[in-house]
Symmetry: C2
Subunit: 138 residues, 2 copies
Amino acid sequence: METSRRELAAMIALGSTGIALSSTSSPAQTGTTLASPALVHHVFFWLKRPGSQKDREQLIAGLRTLRNIPVIRRLEIGVPAGTESRDVVDASYDVSELMFFDNVQDQKTYQEHPVHQQFVKSCEHLWAKVVVYDMATV
Amino acid sequence: METSRRELAAMIALGSTGIALSSTSSPAQTGTTLASPALVHHVFFWLKRPGSQKDREQLIAGLRTLRNIPVIRRLEIGVPAGTESRDVVDASYDVSELMFFDNVQDQKTYQEHPVHQQFVKSCEHLWAKVVVYDMATV
């Protein structure tokens, strides 16, 4: 693999003694940060019947209705990927939703939105466990 | 809050008897899907010294170097957001990285990339626990 000048610079910056705490933004970083919403909401669902393709499809269909909630800047729905199996990788969930919001208030608006509440009402019988991570970008 | 025509359509589609399994894509969904990379890689770090702002900053600085790896389509770095405290929300982690790749092969290339390996070497003494979720978008 060819190593670009920018990659080399990053490797030099890391060096052998640790990482500079005051590293300035690279152009790529600045570009990403400018376009970034401030809040990432990632939810993982474990089904009551993990082997049921029907239940998985129903949950995914329910999650798709959430796209109609205006405060959601981006919505991705997924299932465990076929990446290498490692101790640190949790691939035990069945379905996942990933959302971007502009801020905490918008995430609250989403929680209370009738389309979200209808989704919970229609689908909550399908899942045994839910884990949510809310992350503020830095 | 005003309810738009699209939101109303979604609420009607959900109905009271469940969710249609064969729902077609909304324009918003199609747009998002076309722009979507196929693989989301979300990593959560718990520090050995959770109270250490220095360790947190060092880990974040290390994660920022990963932006120089070309196969990464998008990188977000974050910390627990100030969303409502609920049983399902895990806000115990210290730092998180969220990456988008085009496919599983690109994620493998990233794992083996010298900038990533240098990051692990420089920062792994900081964390006590790592949990990774790899999600293929549907």
